[in-house]
Symmetry: C2
Subunit: 211 residues, 2 copies
């Protein structure tokens, strides 16, 4: 799939491996990421397959670079792939995987993980919002654009923004639920203590919310 991601970018403009790498994972192409160690060999293979052609571009001040451009065959492949229905992807999120077993760590640690992750997603949201503002500045009103490239850029970007907002809200919600849980279990632990039985759940350590 990296091949298609590359073709998408080269369709807009010929680029070097270095320039491709910079675009992936930042500046608009937030939803795809690749290392240079993947990109360079991939470009070679794509050239062998006739999907792209390269030419050396020499600058006086800078190292010579190899700039790749899409071929008609490459464009054909790209279009064929675009109309294929993608399968739904399996979600794989390390943070959620951890949260699933947060009963094994202290409430403090769990809360710390959640707030930390909330911050990370807030930071990324800021980057996205900044990008959207830049898009808006360059194209007056996004809701009025007639440029299909800009239009679909904005659609894809909006997905990234929605995802981050959702994630942040989930972190906040989980923290609120946790506080409720703690006051509930603290209450029942106290009740049990009064009865003389010990409670060994680890969801303690965080100040409980007001009753």
């Amino acid at each position: 799939m990296l091949a298609f991601a590359i073709l998408e970018l080269l369709h807009r403009k010929p680029l070097s491996g270095y320039e491709l790498k910079k675009r992936f994972g930042g500046s608009i192409v937030f939803f795809w990421k690749a290392n240079h160690s993947q990109i360079y060999p991939q470009l070679r293979r794509m050239e062998e397959d006739g999907l792209v052609v390269s030419s050396r571009v020499t600058h006086q001040w800078r190292p010579t670079k190899r700039v790749y451009a899409i071929t008609p065959k490459g464009e054909q492949m790209l279009r064929a792939w675009l109309v294929e229905k993608p399968k739904i992807q399996a979600v794989k999120d390390e943070m959620i995987l951890k949260a699933f077993a947060f009963n094994l760590i202290s409430a403090d640690e769990a809360a710390s993980q959640l707030t930390h992750h909330q911050k990370l997603h807030e930071q990324r949201l800021d980057v996205y919002l900044k990008t959207r503002r830049q898009l808006e500045q360059r194209h007056r009103d996004l809701a009025e654009t007639t440029d299909p490239i800009v239009f679909w850029n904005a659609i894809a970007l909006e997905h990234c923004i929605s995802f981050e907002r959702m994630y942040i809200e989930w972190c906040k919600w989980a923290l609120a639920r946790q506080n409720e849980f703690l006051s509930r279990t603290a209450a029942s632990a106290n009740a049990k203590k009064a009865e003389g039985s010990a409670s060994d759940n680890r969801m303690t350590g965080l100040g409980s919310a007001e009753p």
Copy 2:
């Protein structure tokens, strides 16, 4: 990370490779997925490392299975990993990658992709909601539970639900935006036609919305 996902499940209950495989990607553990061809060798390696121990369980009716249980060392590793702060993950979504270049296909095809994906996510949401209902049935009111395992289950599940809802909303939103875009560009194309200039953008083919 597969190792940790396995440890999380084994901490709850000893399981065979086959049972682990069934749990990943379905029934609660929606946020992690693995093939049996990964799981079996992984379990072997984990046993070598002393993170799990296996025992053969023979049934009279069924094939003998190898059931794995977590060791104290495995539990220690798991806890250590749970408190590590995970890095924020790069988003990688094939559908969004495609949408980014939908200017290269017809509006009909683009709309078809979006509605198809919306359906897929609606189906998955249904599965999640069903699971939540089952959880609620077994544990009366989730908002009242004092079982930390059930509690964090519900927190993780809620993330999956939010994600699907967000995705569905994005699909709907994108389709609505596209309709607006089409009526806008149809209008400007007509205007240009009246001037005698040709327009070669491919965002046509779908009936435009009322002006």
